[in-house]
């Protein structure tokens, strides 16, 4: 299977300023079908801003954004929903699209919150709401997913499961994913392409090449560069149940 991967999103030399301050400058990236592209960078480096530019929420920009699909699912970093609005999880699921009730059930089941279907959004905990947000974004099988810190507030076990789910979704739906994450472990293991931001694109490439980059090491410190080596290390052996190491051939 070596299909030509379709480009879904292309951001070309985009800059955005607010109150005379550049939030991002000259950022370019592209997301292809079946690919996970991750934005990393310190606080205030313009990760969410870049995502919002790509989605068309920030409009007064320099540069170009080209989208080759209209089927987009978005999980924002911060969402303020006014609780004067009585709205159940099931109403929220078909907010912008019209997924079938089967699709809704499947999506809620995947993120582990099917039992909350008839609950009011206002009564959910932070982690539960985050799972509902992800379920909503994937329910109608989008071509492009933009996930801004999608697992914030989710318990540790759930975090790993959700990242696995994201990986699975990108393979099964063959959709492109633009992921923003602080979790370098995940970024370095589950991602096809990494863009390291600090107002501008610091460095980009496969996780392996980015980890070796000097600027990346400066931004994230010495320990960041060891993450990848630990990860790769995992692959050259397995553990038998009693803890002894089995080398792979």
């Amino acid at each position: 299977m070596n299909r030509e991967k379709k480009i879904l999103l292309k951001v070309e030399n985009v800059s955005f300023s607010k109150n005379n301050k550049w939030l991002v400058k000259d950022v370019s990236l592209e997301v292809k079908q079946g690919e996970i592209v991750t934005l990393i960078g310190p606080n205030g480096s313009g990760k969410s801003t870049t995502a919002k530019i790509a989605l068309g929420i920030h409009k007064k920009i320099e540069g170009k954004v080209k989208k080759f699909t209209n089927k987009i699912g978005y999980v924002p970093q911060k969402i303020s929903i006014d609780w004067t609005l009585p709205i159940r999880v099931i109403d929220f699921m078909s907010l912008t699209k019209e997924p079938t009730s089967e699709q809704i059930n499947i999506a809620l089941n995947l993120t582990g919150v099917e039992h909350l279907k008839n609950k009011n959004l206002g009564n959910l905990s932070g982690g539960e709401f985050q799972r509902v947000l992800i379920a909503r974004a994937i329910a109608s099988k989008p071509d492009l997913l933009v996930l801004d810190e999608p697992v914030q507030g989710v318990d540790f076990k759930g975090e790993i499961a959700l990242y696995e789910l994201i990986k699975k979704i990108s393979e099964e739906l063959n959709c492109g994913i633009l992921l923003i994450s602080h979790d370098l472990h995940v970024v370095m293991s589950a991602t096809d392409f990494v863009v390291c931001l600090n107002g501008h694109v610091c460095c980009s490439g496969t996780p392996q090449t980015v980890a070796k980059n000097n600027e990346y090491q400066e931004l994230f410190g010495d320990r960041a560069s060891t993450i990848l080596s630990t990860y790769e290390h995992k692959h050259d052996h397995t553990h038998s149940p009693d803890g002894t190491i089995k080398r792979k051939q």
């Binding site: 068309g56 978005y74 924002p76 609005l85």
Partner: protein, 267 residues
């Protein structure tokens, strides 16, 4: 037997309740209660304009309210003042200009009380046509834009990101709000329009757990307020407009009691 004028009043009230129910829900959801106030204050300017230029009152109110609403949307994007300050600015300045213009019209007899509180018992057949046709149009447009407007109400960024055009639908909604004020101004008057928009919806919020249910209950609450208000004004010879709002207040109080009971039952 009921008199003709009373039947017309009931028909007019029902028409307004049917439209103000769903629009009122959006006003509550979007925290726009003061926006309604601002628009109804600016309606006074619209009325004086109508008398000044000798044009239709509803049309003039609609135009002035729309202009004020669009100025507000623009100011919100270009100034750093918070929304409530801008609303106050527009409400008071349009009210003031309206009163100044009334001063110049002193040669004409002008029933200010009638404007403030409306006179539902003086509704004629043309008013009825305006309410029912105008109301039907408003409801039709609202139904057509429901999904996009609702998405924009729940979360602007989600709606924008997923291609729902929230700016466009916010503007359309603002115009619908100006329209409902224009068609109902003669019936319930400036001061009571926002009451009619907000109170049934507020009552419905207490006893509903999803958006569609809230809209239905809000319409029902509006209808009951109109009927109870009008019949009690007939019975006790009280002012009809304020009686309708008082009825809505009583319904709201009942909804508080019922709400408590329901939540206790769940425990």
């Amino acid at each position: 037997m009921l008199d003709d004028f009373f039947i017309r009043a009931i028909l007019a009230g029902i028409g307004i309740a049917l439209v103000s129910g769903p629009i009122g829900c959006f006003i509550i959801w979007r925290r726009l209660s003061f926006f309604g106030d601002t628009l109804s204050h600016s309606a006074l300017l619209g009325i004086t304009m109508a008398i000044f230029f000798d044009i239709n009152i509803a049309l003039s109110v609609f135009v002035v309210s729309s202009v004020i609403a669009i100025i507000l949307l623009k100011l919100q994007k270009t100034t750093k003042l918070p929304g409530d300050a801008l609303l106050g600015l527009l409400a008071h300045s349009s009210l003031a200009i309206g009163l100044v213009v009334i001063g110049f019209l002193s040669s004409i007899r002008f029933d200010v009380m009638g404007l403030l509180f409306g006179d539902i018992l003086a509704v004629n057949q043309n008013d009825l046509l305006l309410i029912w046709i105008g109301g039907a149009l408003i409801l039709l447009i609202l139904k057509l834009i429901w999904k996009s407007l609702f998405a924009a109400t729940v979360n602007y960024e989600l709606a924008e990101a997923e291609g729902m055009n929230p700016d466009k639908y916010n503007t359309i909604f603002t115009l619908l709000l100006a329209a409902i004020i224009a068609i109902s101004i003669k019936i319930v008057g400036l001061l009571l329009i926002t009451g009619m928009l907000i109170m049934p919806a507020a009552m419905a919020r207490n006893i509903s757990n999803n958006p569609i249910q809230m809209v239905k209950l809000s319409i029902l609450g509006g209808l009951l307020s109109v009927l109870i208000g009008l019949f009690s004004s007939l019975e006790f010879n009280s002012a009809s407009g304020p009686s309708i709002i008082s009825a809505a207040l009583i319904l709201f109080c009942f909804s508080l009691i019922r709400f408590k009971k329901l939540s206790e039952l769940k425990k």
